[in-house]
């Protein structure tokens, strides 16, 4: 308990610079949930679905050039939390989000904030690859088109190519850009979805179990890609696979029944967890 109390004191100190509302008690979160170069800052986030209290007082930062993995048993709220970060929960009826989430200091739940530019800045990749039933080219060009990012066909072509290259898909599809995106393999489709997200130049990319529908080889390919993307983007990834969290992330957050139980350096979480629940989960005692 002493360690936690110390942590809280330290964090509260770090917090003043962020000019945040007075902190509530950070319930039981063990470890340092702040990041030295925070991109997104979440404080005291509560999410209710109707009567269900899905996320309880969670605070977490997502820093520049880092991959934050969110792990935990099914139904622990990690996906819900992720979907708060680009306000995808807005479309869920009966969902209420309280607390403060900022992107580069700007409150994303502010009344002035429009979700359209927010979602361009905070992209998302889903569990099941969901390319649009359009050509590969059109899939990638979709975002730039709706946001008016390019002026002419040449720029758009270039943007599509860069995005596909960054997603590591260009060499495989460059000769068949006009073919439907749905005709690609599962792993290629997921990389196409990543390329589509990259094309609108987001700052943060959220990934909701991006490999759970893929085979091991495609998974390895995506994991490599995540590591490369870290150079340019902040990434938050929800995963069921602890090995994946260990492989791709720098920091890991362990959720349990809506609580953020423990956050820390990935190596520390997996080798020397502080909280009993984290340890039990990681050693496979439940989950």
């Amino acid at each position: 308990m002493n360690a936690i109390a110390e942590d809280i004191t330290r964090m509260t100190g770090a917090m003043t610079a962020d000019d945040l509302a007075p902190l509530r008690d950070f319930s039981g979160t063990v470890g340092d949930f702040t990041s030295p170069q925070a991109r997104m800052v979440c404080r005291n986030v509560d999410v209710h679905y109707g009567d269900k209290h899905a996320i309880k007082n969670v605070s977490l930062d997502i820093g520049r050039n880092e991959v934050v993995a969110m792990i935990g048993p099914s139904g622990c709220g990690k996906s819900t939390f992720l979907r708060c970060l680009n306000r995808m929960n807005d479309t869920v009826p009966g969902c209420r989000v309280r607390g403060r989430i900022t992107l580069d200091g700007q409150d994303i739940y502010d009344k002035q904030q429009d979700v359209v530019p927010l979602r361009a800045q905070v992209g998302m990749v889903f569990q099941k690859p969901n390319p649009f039933p359009k050509s590969i080219y059109e899939n990638v060009a979709y975002g730039p088109r709706i946001h008016g990012l390019t002026n002419d066909k040449i720029e758009l072509d270039a943007l599509v190519e860069t995005s596909l290259r960054k997603a590591g898909l260009w060499d495989e599809v460059k000769d068949r850009l006009q073919q439907p995106g749905t005709g690609l393999s599962g792993g290629q489709q997921q990389r196409l979805c990543i390329a589509r997200t990259i094309a609108v130049s987001p700052e943060v990319i959220l990934m909701d179990e991006p490999c759970s529908a893929l085979d091991p080889i495609a998974t390895a390919r995506i994991e490599e890609l995540i590591d490369e993307l870290r150079e340019q983007y902040s990434i938050a990834i929800v995963t069921h696979s602890m090995q994946q969290a260990a492989r791709v992330s720098q920091r890991t957050a362990y959720f349990h029944l809506g609580d953020l139980v423990e956050v820390g350096e990935t190596s520390q979480i997996f080798t020397n967890p502080s909280h009993k629940l984290t340890e039990d989960y990681i050693t496979g005692r439940f989950g």
Binding site: N86, M88, T91, F126, P133, G143, I146, R196, T197, V200
Partner: protein, 463 residues
């Protein structure tokens, strides 16, 4: 005794057989504790026994009921003195037969009752009674025989479930073939009547002739009955009314579907959708007089106000009302198709910062388009075949015109006109209805095949 009583008796026998079968199976297994040693659940043994008891007897009953009358009649007629029967035409012979039948059943007889007919009627009645008795004996014997056979065969090793399921499968096949065979029968009857028509009127004249005047002179000196069978004005009229209907129904139905599936809250949807679908439940005859009594005069007054010459029965009125009638088809089918676009498509689009309308226009609508086209084609084939509205509102005169304010006629209207009233069933005028029906059938069939093909192809897209 009538065969319906026999039917009830057989059903009762089947019920008895069911319980007997179950009991027999359980006792063969050595009581309720031994049920697990049976190959099938006891109920299957019950059905097995019931099928043995009932099925052969029911088949016999059906066969007997369809053949008994003819068989008895042929016996009666064979016994009649040849001089009474010979020299009669087919029509006269069937009159004689119905006299005999009526007399035997105690009905009023049309013709004169001679002693010969009296005797034949008595003969007929006696033979009928005999045949019915024989049927009873045979059916009950076969039922009891089947029950006994099943009783003897029931043993723990009997694969009763497989047998019963085999029979059920055959029954299902029979019932589904009834629907298919009926369609085939309708098609064949239309085709054969049309062939008769095309022997009298050339195919070229029918499909390319521009004059439609099906009245045929009954007497040589009758005027105004030329008998021209060029169906082009009918096809043109049908096309125009359908086109107007689709111009109304497709935009309105589609917009309604988009609103209901994407924008409306669930409360709005829960009452708006049923109301929209009530439109589909209104009888077409009601639409018909709405078109004829309300819309057509409205259009005429409006047209006269603008200085246009509008006939009181116009293609526009019929098309407008038909369009309203079709709206629920288009909206309901489109709604289904739009809802079938997976939520993940919407999520993917929203996650890229697309607005609801961008998502609709650029992702959902293109994805749903093939299905929507399929739905629209189904609506077109429905509009082409629609009859009541056009009968009441479009008119009878076969004008070949592009002016929607004039009265036109459609294929369906002419079929109605050709077949109402007293008709000779071998005149080209009557047979023309079948040729028109065939043309209609082919067009809607082709449209449906295309539509179903498109819809199916679209379904594969997400699987």
């Amino acid at each position: 005794m009538s065969s319906s009583v026999l039917l009830l008796a057989l059903l009762a026998l089947m019920a008895v057989a069911y319980y007997a079968g179950v009991k027999r199976a359980v006792s063969a297994a050595g009581g309720p504790a031994g049920i697990k040693h049976l190959h099938s659940l006891p109920g299957y043994y019950g059905f097995y026994a019931a099928l043995w008891a009932g099925l052969p007897a029911l088949l016999l009953l059906g066969l007997w009921a369809s053949l008994q009358d003819n068989f008895v009649l042929s016996l009666v007629m064979a016994q009649m003195s040849p001089d009474l029967v010979s020299g009669l035409s087919d029509g006269q012979l069937s009159l004689l037969v119905s006299d005999i039948q009526n007399l035997a059943r105690g009905n009023i007889v049309a013709g004169e009752v001679t002693p010969a007919i009296q005797a034949a009627a008595a003969d007929y009645g006696r033979l009928q009674d005999l045949a019915t008795l024989a049927l009873w004996v045979l059916a009950l014997a076969s039922g009891l025989g089947g029950l006994t056979l099943a009783w003897l065969r029931i043993a723990p090793t009997l694969r009763a479930r497989n047998r019963v399921e085999g029979v059920v499968r055959v029954i299902l096949v029979v019932f589904s073939s009834i629907a298919i065979l009926t369609t085939l029968g309708i098609l064949l009857s239309v085709v054969f009547e049309s062939l008769l028509f095309f022997q009298k009127v050339s195919v070229i004249e029918f499909f390319f002739g521009a004059e439609w005047s099906p009245q045929i002179a009954l007497r040589k000196d009758q005027v105004g009955a030329s008998g021209a069978f060029g169906a082009v004005p009918l096809f043109a009229g049908t096309l125009m009314v359908t086109l107007i209907a689709m111009l109304i129904a497709v935009p309105i139905g589609l917009m309604a579907a988009i609103y209901l599936s994407e924008y409306a809250s669930s409360q709005v949807r829960s009452w708006a959708k049923p109301i929209l679908e009530v439109l589909a439940g209104i009888p077409t005859v009601v639409y018909g007089f709405f078109a004829a009594l309300t819309v057509a005069p409205l259009i005429r007054d409006l047209g006269e106000g603008l200085g246009l010459d509008v006939s009181s029965e116009s293609a526009l009125a019929a098309g407008l009302v038909m369009g309203i009638m079709i709206i629920p088809f288009v909206s309901s089918l489109s709604d289904d198709v739009i809802n079938a676009v997976p939520q993940s498509m919407r999520d993917g689009s929203y996650a890229l910062g697309a607005t609801q309308s961008e998502t609709m226009r650029r992702v959902i609508f293109p994805a749903a388009l093939p299905g929507i086209v399929g739905g629209v084609l189904l609506a077109v084939s429905r509009a082409i075949g629609e009859t009541m509205i056009v009968v009441m509102a479009a008119g009878m005169s076969a004008n070949l015109t592009w002016n929607p304010l004039e009265s036109v006629t459609t294929v369906t209207v002419q079929i109605v006109a050709l077949l109402t009233g007293d008709q000779e069933f071998d005149s080209p005028k009557t047979l023309a209805a079948f040729a028109l029906g065939l043309a209609l059938f082919l067009v809607t069939l082709i449209l449906n095949v295309i539509a179903l093909h498109i819809v199916r192809k679209y379904r594969e897209q997400y699987e």
